[in-house]
């Protein structure tokens, strides 16, 4: 799959075609055809009033504000509070609201790892991912290899991430094909008795919410 190696970035035209201050590091790099397209399309949509420059700026900030930390907070709360866990398993979006997290309007479902079941999330058809809770997905999640192989040989893919599961555990792969997005609610690691939520959240990585790894171990 092609990687993006571009380092230049187009101007953010707030008010038409005014010249911008010279930014030597960025403006020495040529723009690609699609970067030019991106700039032009955004500018035209602003000029036509489809959205405003301010709305675009606010959306960029909103994208930057999302990170796996929001999911980690929810997992940590679920580990210490059975009632919250039940509500999270029933409706992630509503449960997120209890913590002041806006998980957006697309329904997100949490699938729980147990002693007998290990869950893994994939979108074979494109790149569906709970972006509005935990931010943008890593490149590998969107790669041909991950999308092709995770449904076919999940244990081999997990092994590449260093995750080896016992033969008697059920590996359950969820292909996000429709209107729901999925995240894994991993199992609480042993040796964390009495830990506070912040410390627990520190064990919850993005990758364990995708299901390719387990949470960090307290010993690590």
């Amino acid at each position: 799959m092609a990687h993006d190696h571009s380092h230049g970035h187009p101007h953010d035209h707030g008010h038409g075609h005014q010249p911008h201050p010279f930014q030597p590091d960025l403006e020495e790099t040529p723009l690609t055809h699609y970067q030019v397209m991106t700039q032009a399309v955004g500018d035209l949509l602003i000029d036509k009033g489809v959205f405003s420059a301010e709305e675009l700026r606010a959306m960029l900030e909103a994208i930057d504000a999302k990170s796996p930390a929001a999911g980690a907070r929810m997992v940590a709360r679920a580990w210490v509070d059975d009632g919250f866990k039940a509500r999270m398993l029933a409706d992630v979006n509503a449960a997120a609201g209890e913590l002041g997290i806006d998980a957006g309007g697309i329904p997100i479902r949490a699938v729980e790892n147990t002693e007998g079941v290990h869950n893994v999330i994939v979108c074979t058809l494109c790149s569906c991912y709970p972006r509005l809770l935990i931010g943008l997905p890593p490149d590998w999640y969107k790669s041909r290899s991950y999308r092709s192989r995770t449904v076919r040989e999940p244990r081999a893919v997990l092994a590449e991430f260093g995750t080896v599961l016992p033969e008697d555990v059920e590996v359950r792969v969820h292909d996000s094909t429709a209107d729901l997005r999925y995240m894994v609610l991993p199992a609480r690691p042993d040796g964390t008795e009495g830990w506070d939520e912040a410390a627990l959240a520190g064990l919850v990585t993005r990758d364990c919410m995708i299901g390719v790894t387990l949470p960090k171990s307290p010993a690590a």
Binding site: T124, L125, V151, R152, E153, P154, R155, A156, E167, D168, V169, E170, V171, R172, V173, H174, D175, S176, T177, A178, D179, L180
Partner: protein, 94 residues
């Protein structure tokens, strides 16, 4: 919402290979699984993809498959499963 299938029911994915925007993956066509959840209704993505309304909205089913049933030479464990969200128009009684 009137759903054709219920939780626990065995369903088979319709065998058809049209062009167009289809959200039922190739690898489950013709395969048989079990409904674990009935969701929706949701507007039909095959129609939304062309700027149409996608209505009437369709029930959406979480269908669980034995992964070993999906591949001739599955190398994992016998109890491994795969869950796919499938719109009602792609499911039939076995």
């Amino acid at each position: 919402m009137s759903a054709r299938f219920a939780v626990g029911e065995t369903v088979t994915v319709r065998v058809a290979f049209p062009p167009g925007h289809v959200r039922t993956p190739f690898f489950v066509r013709g395969k048989t699984g079990r409904v674990t959840e009935v969701l929706g209704p949701y507007r039909n993505p095959e129609e939304l993809a062309y700027g149409r309304s996608g209505e009437p909205a369709l029930p959406l089913y979480r269908v669980i498959f034995d992964t070993a049933d999906l591949w001739d030479d599955y190398q994992g464990a016998a109890q491994d499963t795969t869950v796919v969200d499938i719109y009602e128009n792609w499911l039939e009684a076995p």
